[in-house]
């Protein structure tokens, strides 16, 4: 059972990271958006392996469908330039970016490296979810608990978020719909 989880995690992580690299370094912008959508879908798979089914389905709805359609329309509106001109920045900036990003990655990795995968050791004092908790979440689903949390404890951020979404819709429509 452990090795099945391991194999699934490795496959999902490989798909996420490779398609994200495709999204960054692809020559054509359409391939770039395709790689981004594949990466978002695989992130939904990672959410499913972490017992978060509601957030995983929301990820598929929001990112796999909505964001991809939004990005596709955006490149249809702006698909006039040759993609080769807009490919990457100059070599100095690429070198600087690679150095900076790899330094960030290795510093974070060295910080969390002492934390073992065993529980209650290292930097993060974690406790693994018990079998009964996992069975409860996988049988009942997480949406009931999330709904209770969202409308009891987090109701003020929820309402503020609805105001933010309204402002976003109005602002985007005003900005993009205005003819000069």
């Amino acid at each position: 059972m452990e090795i099945i989880n391991f194999i699934i995690f490795i496959i999902l992580a490989g798909v996420i990271l490779s398609s994200a690299l495709v999204a960054v370094f692809a020559q054509n912008i359409v391939y770039s958006i395709l790689g981004a959508v594949v990466s978002f879908m695989s992130i939904a798979g990672i959410f499913f392996t972490l017992n978060a089914d509601f957030v995983g389905i929301a990820q598929i709805f929001v990112y796999g469908v909505g964001v991809s359609i939004l990005l596709a329309f955006a490149i249809m509106f702006t698909a006039k330039e040759q993609e080769k001109v807009l490919y990457l920045a100059n070599a100095g900036r690429i070198f600087l970016g690679l150095v900076f990003v790899s330094a960030l990655f290795f510093s974070i990795s060295c910080f969390i490296a002492p934390s073992s995968i065993k529980s209650n050791q290292g930097v993060f004092l974690t406790k693994d979810p018990t079998v009964s908790q996992i069975a409860l979440l996988q049988n009942n689903g997480t949406s009931k608990i999330i709904g209770k949390r969202l409308f009891c404890d987090y109701v003020l951020p929820f309402e503020l978020l609805s105001v933010l979404l309204l402002a976003g819709i109005v602002g985007a429509g005003y900005l993009a719909g205005k003819e000069k």
Binding site: N5, I16, N51, I75, L86, I94
Partner: protein, 104 residues
């Protein structure tokens, strides 16, 4: 050896965050910059869900926070694409290096 723990998910999220940051730094196309920002937000979501699974399973605070982050990220993407279309209409270009003046 073949045991999956919290550290694997944190490493995955770190790598995804770094790829998003690389995309923001390196690319010249404005849509790629926005995709990089979305990658960074998704890495944050992976971290939130992983800590929610390994620290407070049953209360699901991290899942609620991930839903908030997701909504804010999509709102930001919609506004960014609206600004991109406005920039393209004004300057006929989506090159990030040429946009140094919004006064037209």
């Amino acid at each position: 050896m073949f045991e999956i723990g919290l550290i694997h998910y944190i490493l995955l999220a770190t790598a995804l965050f770094c790829i998003g940051l690389l995309s923001v730094i390196v690319s010249k196309h404005l849509i790629r910059v926005l995709i990089g920002i979305e990658f960074m937000l998704n890495a944050v979501n992976i971290n939130l869900i992983a800590f929610s699974n390994y620290l407070d399973l049953g209360k699901l605070d991290g899942n609620v926070m991930a839903l908030f982050v997701m909504a804010i990220g999509v709102c930001e993407l919609a506004l960014g694409l609206a600004i991109l279309i406005l920039i393209f209409r004004r300057t006929q270009s989506v090159n990030a290096d040429e946009q140094n003046s919004f006064r037209g």
